[in-house]
Symmetry: C2
Subunit: 692 residues, 2 copies
C-alpha cells in the first residue's frame, strides 16, 4: 500500500492527541469515525487516558505495536515535530496534521514547517497539512477530520473534492450536500508542506468510484504537477473542475497575504488550465453547477444547444447567455418544426428556443414530444429543459423525464427553478442533472461543451516538440540582437531581416542590400528600450538619410546613457502588415516558460487583451489562443483591410513557444513587439531576449 | 377609490366564470381567497351554479347588484368581450383577465385584444392582462390569481414584485419565498393590453408598506412612463430593481418571437435605466440578492467596502469581485489596525479584507470587535461579513449579529454560505440582510452603492434643459452640412469651422481664411458617406493642393453617383486632438431621442464600446457616461499623450443631447464621427444629421 492509499483508504488509524471531549478538535475525529462506522482499527494516543469510551488509549505511538496506515496529529504545534519523529520510527506511511502555527504564521512557523517536512521525507512519511481540517473518504467511512461538514450526513458519490482552504472548502461541501450531490472524497490540503493539491487529486481520481474531480485553489506551487494531473485526468475521461481565487490584482494581493503560495499571474493560470482541459469555474456555486452536469451527462458532439421551456422569458435569458458563452442556439430543421407543430399548441413557439407554455402540465406528452423532436434535430448537440416549481406535479414530471432519459441519445439537463428536494433526488436517481436556474444551466452546459472540445483536441493532438538548445554559449542578461535572432530563427520564428552596421558606410551598404526604405536602430546591450533613447529612425529612403540617421542614433544613445556600450546600429527593411501583435515568453514561477499573444498598440496598453499558454504549443493550439482574444475581429480585417493570415500567426506563436520550452529555466523573457501581420504573413520586427 | 386601488386593494371581488372545481384555473382564485381569509365581499359569477361552497353564485355580473371593485375574468377568450361589456355596464373600475388567445397568438387575437381595450377605455374600466396569472396583495389577502405560487404560504413583506412573464414570475416568487423574503405584492401584467408595468409598479410603490420594487421585464412599450416611474421612485427613496431579458442579439430575437413588445436595443435600455436610478440585475437570483440588501440596508456614503471573513479564500474572492465592480477595498487606517491586532489572533489578517479565522467560534467577541473596528474606519462605507455553515452555533451568532446591528452606524450585510433556515429567519427578524455567498454579496453591495450614488446624483441634479427648436424650416432627410452645423451650434455643440466653397477659387479663399493645412470634403445631399465616394482630401497645405483636391473630389463624387446633386466642397482646418470619439443621437422606439458616446476607430468598429442615455443629459451625467466606457483609459492619455479634457467632452455630449431632446420626434439620427479630443478640448469634425 503506497502512502497516498494509506492516507485516503487506511486500514488502521492512530489519533495522536485524542481527547475524550468529543466537542473538541482533538475529540471530534474519533466521534465521527465511530459514528460513521469506520471498519478499520482505531488507536487513540494520549498519555492522559487509559481508554476513551470502549477503545483502549495508548500512551505513545510506539506503544501501539501494530501497523498504522494513517496518523491523525492533533497536538499543539510545539509537539508536532516530536510526534512526527515517533511516527517515522513506527514506519507509519501517512499523517494528517491538524495543528496550526506553521508556514501560515511568520518566520518561526516556516522554519518549524521545513523541519517537519525534512524529518518526514527522510523516513518516507507523507504529510497532509499542517493547518488543515483533514480528510473524508465517504465510501470507506474514513472521517479523519474535525470539519463541521462531518456534523451532517456524508453520502458518498462520484465527486472527489480537494480544497486548499478549510473554511471555504467546508462551505462548498455543505452546499454540495444541500444540493443532493454526494462527495466521495473531501480533502483539505492546508499549508501543503508536503502533499499538495495535484498529488492528492491524482490519487482521488484513481479511485474508480470517482467520475469527476472538483478543486478549490488559492495558489499553485507546482505547475508542472498540475499540468501532468490534467493530462492523466483527460486521458482517464474524468473531468476536473476548479475554482481558483485571485482573478484580479486586488485578489492576488489578498491571496499573498493569506498563504505562502505563489499565486502567479491569474491570466497565466487561466491560459494554462484551459489549454490542458481543466474546467475553471468563477465561484463555488458555478463549480457545483458544472460538476453536476459533468457527473451526469455524456459529452456533446458540438456546441449546438436546444432549449425547451415553458416560459418565453427563460428562453430569452438562456439564448442570451448561450451567445455570450460561444454556444449556438441553432434554428431547427424543417422536419423538426413539423414535429414540433404537431406536438405543441398553437400559441407556443416551434423554433429554438421552443416554448411549450404551461399547457404541458395538463398534457405532459407535449414536453416529451417537444424534447424528442429537438434532440433528434441534427443541429442540436445538447439540450436544456427549463421549468419551475410544479410541486403538485413532481411525480408526473419525474416519470416523464425518465421516459426522456430512456430515449435520449444526446445529453440533456433539467433547469428546474425552485425544485422540491424530492424532485431533485428523484432526477438524480434517474441519472439526470438538475440545475437551479436558467443561467446556471447554460453556464454548466457551456462548460460541458468546452470539456468535450478539450477531449476532442486531446484525441487529435499532435504534441508540440521542442528540440533542446545548447544555451551554454549564450550570456545571461540581454542577448545581442543578432545572436537572439539566430536562436529564434533556429526554432522557425519569422523575423524581419537585420544587419548590424558598425559605421555609417556599413549601414548604407546594408540598406542597399536590404532595399530602401529601411529602419535604423542603435545596437547596445545596455539599451533594451531603444525608442526611449531616441535611438530609432524609420522610413529612411536614401544613403544620405541613412548616414544622417546613423550619426543621430549613436549620438542620442550616448547622450541618453554615456556608459552604454554601443556596438553600431541594426539595419532592417520597413515591414508591411497592417495589424500589430505582441508575442512573448515569460518565466512563470508556477508553470515555467509560458507563451503570450496579444493585439498590439492600445489593445495591450489600455485593455491588456493578452492570452497565455504553457510552452510549447502546436500551431493548432495557437489558433485556438487567437480565438480567445477579445479583439480578435481585428484579425478578420477592419476598415477595409484584408484578413490577416492566421495560420502564419499561429506558426509564429508555436515557434516562439518551442524556443521557450527549449530555453527552459534559462529563459527570463522574450518580447516580440511588434509582430506585423497581414494577408501575406507575420513577421517579428523587434525582439528582446533576456536570459538568466 | 381609483381604478388601480380597486385592482390592488379591492373591497369586493367578482369572479366571472368561477368553477366549483377548485383545481381548475377558474376555481383556484376562489379557493385561494377563501383559504387566505380575504375580508372583502366575494361574488362568484356563473349561470351553471346557484352556489359555490357557502357562497351564493350569480348568473351574471348584472345580477350581483352591489358595487364590485375588481372582477376576475376567467372565461374562454370568445366570451371575454361580452364579459367586459357587462362589467362596463356595472361600472366596475378594474378587471384582471386570465384568458389567453389574444395579442400573443396571431392577428385575430390582436384584433380581439384591441376591441377589448377600446371597450374598456370607453367605460373607464382598467384591465390587467389578458393572458396573465393575476395578482396578489399579500397584506390584504387579495389572492386574485391561479399561479402555483399561491399554493404555498405568502407572507407579506416590503417587496413589491411586478412581472411581465407569468411562468418566470412564478419561479421568482417561489425563489423569494424559499429565501424567506416576503412579497407584499405579486402582479403579472401579461399582454399589457391596457395597464402596463410602469403604471402598476407606480401604484404598488405608493403603498407605504412597500420599501423596494422588483420587476421582471421582457420589453418596454412606454419608455417615458418607465422613466417617470423611476423618477418618482427615486424621489420616494424606494429602490427599483429590474431584470430584463434580451441582452444580446440572440436574446432579442427570442423576445420578439415571444411577445409583441418592442424590445429596443438592449444597450439603450441599459443606459437609460442606469441614468434614471433603476438598478438592473442580470438574472433572477441576482435580482433577489439585490432586493434583499436594498430592503434591509441604509445607503452607504461611498464605495469603500470593508470585508471580515473567517476564510482567506473568501476574502480573495470578494476582493476580486469588488474590484471588477468598481468598489474599493481600502487599506485600513493605523487606528483600525491597532484595534484589529488587539481583537484578532496572531495568525489572522489585520488589514482589509480582515481574516479572523475559525477562532471566532470559540471567542465570538473576536467577530464583534473586528466588525466594530472595520466599520469605524473612515475609509469604510459598508461591510460584508462572511461565514459558513455553523449549524451548531446559530443562536450564539445571531445574538452577536444583533449586537453588531445595535452599534453599527454604517450598513453591513452577512454572507452566510449554507446558512440554516433558522439563521436566515433570525437575521431577517433583526433587520439584517443575509446573502448566500461571497460573490452574490459583493454584487448586491455594489448595487446598493450604485443606488446610493444615484440618490446623491438626484439630490445634486441640475436638470438638463432643452430649448425647443423650430424645425419647420428644416427638410426631412439629410440636412445640408451648414444648416446642420447651425442647428448644432445653437445648442452649444463644438464643431470644427466649415465653409462651403462652390468652386476652386472659393475653396482657396476659404483655406486662406481658415489657415493651412485644410481638409476638403465634397458637399452633396445625396452623398452622406463622402469617404466611400473618395470625396475627402486631408492635410492640404497650399493653394495648388486645394485646387487639385477640389477638382478631384468633385470628379470622384460624379463618378461615384452621376445623379448626385453636388453643391461644392466643405473646407475645414485640420483638427488636433489625439483621441477620436463618436457621439450621436438615435431615435429609440421606446425612449425617444437617446444620446450615444463611444471611443472611435477600432473601439467602436471591433468592440462596439458605446454607451447610451436618454436625452437630454447634464454635463455631470455625461461625465458619468464616459466612465462606463470599457476603453475609458484612452481618455487618460496613452503612449505619452496628455489626458483628454473630459469636461469639454462632457459639455459636447450634453449639448448634443439637448439638441436631440429639442428635435424630439423630428430627429432620425445624428452622427458626429469623429469628435477629436485632446487636452485643449473636443471638437466634432464631421456631422451627419438626418430628420424625419
Amino acid at each position: 500500500m503506497n502512502a497516498l492509499s494509506a492516507l485516503l483508504s487506511p486500514r488502521a488509524i492512530a489519533i495522536v492527541g485524542a481527547s475524550n471531549d468529543f466537542r473538541k478538535i482533538n475529540g471530534r475525529p474519533l466521534r465521527f469515525l465511530l459514528e460513521a462506522g469506520y471498519a478499520g482499527a482505531l488507536y487513540p494516543v494520549n498519555p492522559k487516558y487509559a481508554a476513551i469510551g470502549d477503545l483502549r488509549c495508548y500512551p505513545s505511538v510506539a506503544a501501539i505495536g501494530k501497523p498504522v496506515d494513517l496518523a491523525i496529529v492533533a497536538v499543539p504545534a510545539a509537539q508536532v515535530l516530536a510526534t512526527i519523529a515517533d511516527l517515522c520510527r513506527a514506519r507509519t506511511p501517512a499523517a494528517v496534521v491538524f495543528s496550526s502555527g506553521f508556514g501560515e504564521g511568520g518566520e518561526a512557523g516556516q522554519q518549524l514547517e521545513a523541519a517537519l517536512v525534512s524529518a518526514a521525507r527522510a523516513a518516507g512519511l507523507r504529510l497532509c497539512g499542517p493547518n488543515c481540517l483533514g480528510l473524508i473518504n465517504a465510501f470507506d467511512r474514513v472521517v479523519a477530520t474535525f470539519s463541521q461538514y462531518a456534523d451532517g450526513p456524508m453520502p458518498p458519490g462520484p465527486v472527489g473534492f480537494v480544497t486548499q482552504s478549510g473554511a471555504f472548502g467546508t462551505a462548498i461541501a455543505a452546499l454540495a450536500r444541500a444540493r443532493g450531490m454526494g462527495l466521495g472524497y473531501f480533502v483539505n490540503t492546508g499549508n501543503e508542506a508536503d502533499l499538495h493539491f495535484a498529488e492528492v487529486m491524482d490519487a482521488v481520481l484513481a479511485d474508480p468510484r470517482i467520475r469527476v474531480g472538483a478543486g478549490y485553489l488559492e495558489g499553485v506551487k507546482d505547475g508542472a504537477a498540475l499540468v501532468a494531473l490534467a493530462g492523466r485526468a483527460l486521458a482517464a475521461g474524468k473531468p476536473l473542475v476548479v475554482t481558483k481565487v485571485g482573478r484580479t490584482e486586488a485578489g492576488t494581493r489578498a491571496a499573498a497575504s493569506h498563504t505562502g503560495s505563489l499565486a502567479g499571474a491569474d491570466a497565466v493560470f487561466e491560459g494554462v488550465v484551459r489549454q490542458c482541459g481543466i474546467v475553471r469555474a468563477r465561484n463555488e456555486e458555478q463549480m457545483l453547477d458544472i460538476v453536476e452536469v459533468l457527473a451526469h451527462c455524456a459529452l456533446p458532439a458540438g456546441n449546438g444547444l436546444g432549449i425547451v421551456t415553458q416560459s418565453g422569458g427563460a428562453a430569452v435569458l438562456m439564448a442570451d447567455r448561450a451567445e455570450e458563452l460561444g454556444l449556438t442556439v441553432p434554428a431547427l430543421g424543417p422536419d423538426t418544426r413539423v414535429a414540433l407543430r404537431k406536438a405543441i399548441p398553437g400559441f407556443g413557439t416551434a423554433d429554438n428556443p421552443v416554448d411549450i407554455t404551461g399547457q404541458f402540465v395538463a398534457e405532459p406528452g407535449l414536453l416529451r414530444e417537444a424534447v424528442r423532436a429537438v434532440l433528434d434535430d441534427p443541429a442540436v448537440d445538447v439540450a436544456i429543459i427549463w421549468l419551475q416549481l410544479m410541486d403538485a406535479h413532481v411525480d408526473k414530471l419525474v416519470a416523464l423525464f425518465g421516459e426522456i432519459k430512456a430515449f435520449a441519445r444526446k445529453p440533456f439537463v433539467v433547469a428546474w427553478v425552485a425544485a422540491s428536494p424530492t424532485a431533485i433526488a428523484s432526477l438524480h436517481a434517474l441519472g439526470i442533472a438538475v440545475l437551479r436556474g436558467a443561467e446556471p444551466a447554460v453556464d454548466a452546459v457551456a462548460a460541458l461543451a468546452e470539456y468535450a472540445a478539450a477531449q476532442r483536441r486531446a484525441a487529435a493532438a499532435v504534441s508540440a516538440e521542442a528540440v533542446p538548445l545548447n544555451t551554454d554559449a549564450l550570456p545571461a542578461g540581454l542577448v545581442p540582437s543578432l545572436a537572439a535572432a539566430q536562436v529564434l530563427a533556429s526554432y522557425g520564428v519569422a523575423l524581419a531581416p537585420a544587419v548590424v552596421a558598425t559605421n555609417a558606410d556599413e549601414a548604407v551598404a546594408a540598406a542597399v542590400r536590404l532595399g530602401y526604405p529601411v529602419v535604423l536602430k542603435v545596437e547596445s546591450p545596455d539599451l533594451p528600450h531603444k525608442t526611449e533613447a531616441d535611438g530609432v529612425r524609420l522610413n529612411l529612403a536614401s544613403a544620405q538619410a541613412v548616414r544622417e540617421a546613423y550619426a543621430e542614433v549613436v549620438k542620442n544613445a550616448r547622450a541618453y546613457l554615456p556608459a552604454a556600450r554601443i556596438e553600431g546600429a541594426l539595419v532592417q527593411p520597413m515591414a508591411g502588415g497592417a495589424v500589430e501583435l505582441v508575442v512573448g515568453l515569460h518565466q512563470d514561477p508556477a508553470f515555467g516558460p509560458v507563451v503570450m499573444v496579444g493585439l498590439g498598440g492600445i489593445f495591450v496598453e489600455v485593455q491588456r487583451d493578452v492570452v497565455f499558454a504553457r510552452a510549447p504549443v502546436t500551431a493548432g493550439q495557437a489558433l485556438a489562443l487567437l480565438d480567445r482574444l477579445r479583439g480578435r475581429a481585428m484579425l478578420d480585417g477592419v476598415r477595409g483591410q484584408p484578413p490577416v493570415d492566421r495560420h502564419a500567426v499561429a506558426e509564429l506563436v508555436a515557434a516562439v513557444s518551442r524556443a521557450g520550452a527549449a530555453l527552459g529555466p534559462r529563459l527570463s523573457s522574450l518580447d516580440l513587439n511588434p509582430v506585423r501581420c497581414g494577408p501575406e504573413g507575420a513577421v517579428a520586427v523587434d525582439w528582446l531576449l533576456v536570459l538568466q
